[in-house]
C-alpha cells in the first residue's frame, strides 16, 4: 500500500508540469527571465507588468476592436469623465461597487492615493502620469484631476501600469516612510481580476483568478508564469504541451513551430525596438566621437538579414515606424569601418576596451553581443561580454554601473513622448528611461517644451529638431524595430495583442478549449 502511494507521488511529481498545462483552467506561460518587482509605482519593465497589470484596475483600459488591441481607451474603474474646455481639468466618475480583497471600497480617495503614491515614488511610472498637477476627491466617487498643461495622451497614460489603483490600506505596511514599497515589491493588493499567490524566484510566479471580479469572473482559474532562460527549453515545453504560450523564441526555431499543427504562431507589427545604451557618463564614452564610432561599427544589415531573418527594420531615429513623429529623413548610421576608425583616432581613443552587459531577456541578445564584439574588433575596440540575470542587469543600469548594455523598449501609450522624453530628458536618468545618462541642455529644453504643447504640428517640429542633435550625439546605438512573434497552443483562445502592452496578456479574457 505504502509502495503504491510513494509510486503515485513520484509519477505525479514527474508529470506535474504536464498536468498543469493539460488542465483547462490553468494557463502556463513560459518566459525568458525572472521578474524584478511587483510594485506598480516602481516598475518600468513590461516583464514585471505582465504579472502586475492583471492584479489591478485602472481608471481606463485599452479598447479591443475586432479582436485587435487599440491605442484608444474606454472606461474601466472610471464610469465616465468630462474635461474642461481648456483641457486642464478632468473630472472622473468612479464606478461604484468595486472592492479590494479586504472589502475596502475602490473610491475617489483610493485613486488619488495610488496616483499620488506613484508620483511621490518618482521612479519611471511617475513620468507616465507626470502631467498631473493636483488631485481632489470632490465626493466619494468623483475625482478631479488638474493638469500642469493640456496633454494629448493624458487619458492613455491612465491605462498604463503605473496608474494602477492600489488599496490605500497598504499604507499600514509602510516602513520608514517608503510608501509600502518594500511590501508591494513582493505582494499585490489590487481589485483586478487576478492576484499573485506565489512567486518563487528563478522558478515561477502564480496568479489566481478572483471569481467575484466585478467585470465578470475570468475563464481561467490560474495562470502560471514559468521562468525558463533557454529559448530551446521554452520551445520544447510548448511543443510537448507543458506550456500554452512561449515568449521570445529564437527566430531560427519559428519555422519548426509553424509546422507543428498543435501550435499557432502569431506575428504582430509592433513598436518594440532594441538598442544599446551607451553610458555617456563613463569617461571612456563621454566623447561623442567615440559613441559615433561605435554606431558606425555595427553591421546592422547583417543582423537584420540573418539573425532576425528579415523580421525587423533598422531604426531610423529614436521614434519607431508607425508612431507619429517618426522621420524618414533623419540621419541613420550604417557600417563604415574606416569612418569609425577615423573618429576614434580623432578622439584619441584608439586603444579602447569596453564591456557590454546583457541578459537572456531576448533570445537573440547573445548573438547580437557576439556580433558586436566582432564588429567592434574591426575598428580596434576590444569588447568584453558579460551575461547576467535580468534583475542584476537592471540594478546595474539604474546605478550607471556599466559601459554598454543591450536593451529593449516598447511604448505604453501612442505618443512619441514615450521615446523622446523617456530616453533623452536628463531628469529620467537611469531605469526610468534615460539609460545612457545622456544630458544635452538643448535636447532637454526641446523635449520638455514639446511635452507641454497640445498642437501636434508644433510638437513634431520640436521633436524633429531634437532628433537631429541626438543622432549627432549618438547616446544609444539604435539597432532595430522588430515584429512581435507569439507562439501559442491551438486551444488557447481569446488572446489579444496590443503594441502598447508588449509582453502583457489579457488573462481575464483568455480561455482554453
Amino acid at each position: 500500500m505504502r509502495f503504491w502511494t510513494i509510486l503515485c507521488c513520484l509519477v505525479l511529481l514527474l508529470v506535474g508540469s504536464t498536468v498543469y498545462a493539460a488542465d483547462k483552467d490553468t494557463l502556463v506561460v513560459s518566459v525568458s527571465s525572472d521578474i524584478h518587482t511587483l510594485d506598480p509605482g516602481v516598475s518600468s519593465d513590461n516583464y514585471d507588468w505582465r504579472q502586475i497589470y492583471p492584479c489591478y484596475d485602472r481608471l481606463v483600459k485599452y479598447k479591443v476592436e475586432n479582436g485587435k488591441g487599440s491605442t484608444e481607451v474606454e472606461p474601466m474603474a472610471a464610469e465616465s469623465w468630462t474635461v474642461s474646455p481648456d483641457g486642464l481639468t478632468w473630472t472622473f466618475k468612479i464606478r461604484k461597487g468595486i472592492t479590494f480583497d479586504d472589502g475596502t471600497a475602490l473610491n475617489a480617495e483610493a485613486v488619488r492615493y495610488s496616483l499620488d503614491r506613484t508620483l511621490a515614488i518618482a521612479k519611471g511610472p511617475a513620468d507616465n502620469i507626470g502631467a498631473i498637477a493636483t488631485m481632489k476627491a470632490v465626493d466619494d466617487y468623483t475625482l478631479q484631476i488638474t493638469l500642469k498643461n493640456p496633454y494629448g495622451p493624458f487619458l492613455q497614460t491612465l491605462a498604463t501600469d503605473g496608474a494602477s489603483i492600489v488599496n490605500p490600506k497598504v499604507a499600514s505596511h509602510a516602513v520608514d516612510k517608503d510608501l509600502a514599497q518594500a511590501f508591494l515589491a513582493e505582494h499585490v493588493d489590487g481589485s483586478g481580476p487576478f492576484k499573485v499567490v506565489e512567486w518563487t524566484r528563478g522558478q515561477r510566479c502564480v496568479l489566481e483568478a478572483k471569481p467575484k471580479y466585478w467585470g465578470g469572473a475570468p475563464k481561467l482559474k490560474k495562470v502560471i508564469i514559468r521562468f525558463m532562460s533557454e529559448s530551446a527549453d521554452r520551445r520544447m515545453a510548448l511543443e510537448q504541451g507543458d506550456v500554452d504560450i512561449a515568449e521570445n523564441i529564437l527566430i531560427d526555431q519559428i519555422p519548426a513551430l509553424e509546422k507543428n499543427k498543435d501550435i499557432v504562431v502569431n506575428r504582430y507589427p509592433s513598436q518594440m525596438v532594441e538598442y544599446v545604451y551607451v553610458n555617456c557618463q563613463n569617461t571612456k564614452l563621454s566623447d561623442a566621437r567615440v559613441r559615433q564610432a561605435l554606431s558606425y561599427a555595427v553591421d546592422y544589415k547583417g543582423i537584420i538579414d540573418h539573425v532576425l531573418q528579415g523580421n525587423g527594420v533598422q531604426m531610423r531615429g529614436p521614434i519607431p515606424e508607425g508612431m507619429w513623429g517618426h522621420r524618414d529623413d533623419v540621419f541613420q548610421y550604417t557600417r563604415d569601418v574606416a569612418k569609425a576608425k577615423e573618429l576614434l583616432k580623432a578622439a584619441g581613443a584608439e586603444k579602447l576596451e569596453l564591456t557590454l552587459i546583457y541578459s537572456e531577456r531576448r533570445a537573440t541578445w547573445e548573438q547580437i553581443a557576439l556580433i558586436m564584439q566582432a564588429n567592434l574588433a574591426d575598428i580596434g575596440v576590444k569588447l568584453n561580454l558579460e551575461l547576467m540575470s535580468n534583475p542584476t542587469l537592471r540594478d546595474k543600469i539604474d546605478k550607471a554601473d556599466f559601459e554598454l548594455c543591450l536593451g529593449a523598449w516598447s511604448p505604453d501609450f501612442a505618443d512619441p513622448y514615450m521615446f523622446m522624453n523617456f530616453w533623452f530628458d536628463s531628469k529620467n536618468a537611469g531605469l526610468p528611461g534615460n539609460r545612457s545618462f545622456y544630458k544635452n541642455d538643448k535636447v532637454d529644453e526641446l523635449v520638455r517644451k514639446s511635452a507641454t504643447l497640445s498642437d501636434v504640428a508644433e510638437r513634431k517640429k520640436l521633436y524633429s529638431e531634437a532628433q537631429d542633435i541626438i543622432m549627432k550625439d549618438a547616446p544609444y546605438i539604435f539597432l532595430y524595430q522588430i515584429q512581435t512573434i507569439v507562439p501559442l497552443r491551438k486551444n488557447v483562445k481569446g488572446y489579444v495583442f496590443n503594441p502598447m502592452l508588449e509582453s502583457m496578456y489579457n488573462f481575464e479574457a483568455i480561455s482554453k478549449e
Binding site: 531560427d252 526555431q253 561580454l385
Partner: protein, 285 residues
C-alpha cells in the same frame, strides 16, 4: 651501452607500451590531438573568429566540414583551435597541480608527524568536495576568465597529487639510502629534492596522465557554464554551451566539439591506465 639509466628506463617503458593495445590507441589519439592542435593554423580552412552571417547555421558539407555556428563561423576551424586551448589548459592544470601537489606531499610525507597530519587534513577537506563543484565555486568567486578557470581546476587537483606523493614519500623515507644520506649530513631540502621526489615520479606521471582527461573535462565544464573561456575564444565547452541552444535543429553545432572532448578525454584515460600497468614494478619484470 653507456646510455643514461633514465634513457634505458624510458626505452624499456616504450617497448612494453608498444605491446599494449589500449596504450597504442590512447597514445595514437593523444598524438593526433597534439598534431591537430599544433597544426591548427595550417589545417583550419577559416579564421575561427571570423563572422560570416550569410552562412550562419549551414549544415556540414564540402565548404564547412563540420558546418557553421549561429554567426557563420566554421566549426571545423574552431574545433581545431579548440584543441590547442583544451590541451594547453590540461597541461597547465596538470603542471600547476602536479608541482604544487608533489611538493606538498613530499614535504608532508618526509617530515611526518604533526605537520603531516595537519597538511593531510587540509587536503582531506579539499578532497571531500566533489571536484567539479569546488572548481565551480572557486571559479565563480574569482570571476569568469580562462586563467581563473585553470587556477580553480588546478586547485581541486592538488590533493590527488599530494596524497599520492605523500604515500610514496612515507615509504621512501624509511629506505636505507635516505638514512645514509642523512647520516652523511644532507639537509631536508636536499633529501626531498634528490631522494624523495625522484622516487615518486613514476606514480606522479601516471596520475598526471590519468587526471589530464579530468582536467580538460572540468575546464570545459567551467567554460560550458560561462566561467571559463570567454567569447569569441573557440573553447570546446563554450561551443557546446552555445550549440546546445540550436541542438534541436542544428545537431552539428554542439556535436562536433562534444565528440572532440569525448575522444580526447577517453584517449588520455586509456593511455593513463595502460601507463599505470606498465610502470607497475610487479608487472614490469
Amino acid at each position: 651501452m653507456s646510455a643514461h639509466p633514465l634513457l634505458r628506463e624510458l626505452k624499456l617503458t616504450l617497448r612494453i607500451l608498444a605491446r599494449n593495445p589500449s596504450a597504442l590507441i590512447g597514445g595514437a589519439v593523444i598524438v593526433l590531438m597534439v598534431l591537430l592542435a599544433l597544426g591548427a593554423p595550417l589545417l583550419a580552412p577559416f579564421d575561427p573568429v571570423k563572422l560570416s552571417l550569410a552562412e550562419r547555421l549551414s549544415a556540414p558539407g564540402a565548404a564547412h566540414f563540420f558546418g557553421t555556428d549561429e554567426l557563420g563561423r566554421d566549426i571545423f576551424s574552431r574545433v581545431l583551435y579548440g584543441a590547442r586551448i583544451s590541451l594547453s589548459i590540461g597541461l597547465l592544470v596538470i603542471t600547476v597541480a602536479g608541482v604544487t601537489g608533489a611538493l606538498i606531499g613530499a614535504t608532508s610525507g618526509y617530515f611526518g608527524g604533526r605537520i603531516d597530519n595537519a597538511v593531510m587534513r587540509v587536503m582531506d577537506v579539499v578532497l571531500s568536495f566533489p571536484s567539479l563543484v569546488l572548481a565551480l565555486a572557486l571559479a565563480a568567486a574569482m570571476g569568469p576568465s580562462l586563467v581563473n578557470a585553470i587556477l580553480a581546476t588546478a586547485f581541486v587537483m592538488i590533493p590527488k597529487f599530494a596524497r599520492l606523493v605523500r604515500g610514496e614519500a612515507l615509504s621512501v623515507r624509511e629506505l636505507p639510502f635516505v638514512a645514509a644520506s642523512r647520516v652523511a649530513g644532507a639537509g631536508h631540502g636536499f633529501i626531498i629534492r634528490r631522494h624523495i621526489l625522484p622516487n615518486c615520479l613514476n606514480s606522479a606521471i601516471v596520475l598526471a596522465t590519468l587526471t589530464l582527461g579530468d582536467a580538460i573535462l572540468i575546464a570545459a565544464s567551467l567554460s560550458f557554464i560561462g566561467l571559463g573561456a570567454q567569447p569569441p575564444t573557440p573553447e570546446w565547452g563554450a561551443m557546446i554551451a552555445s550549440g546546445r541552444k540550436f541542438l534541436m535543429d542544428q545537431w552539428w553545432y554542439a556535436t562536433f566539439p562534444g565528440l572532440f572532448i569525448l575522444v580526447t578525454v577517453i584517449g588520455f584515460n586509456i593511455f593513463g591506465d595502460a601507463l599505470r600497468d606498465v610502470l607497475d614494478p610487479r608487472i614490469r619484470r
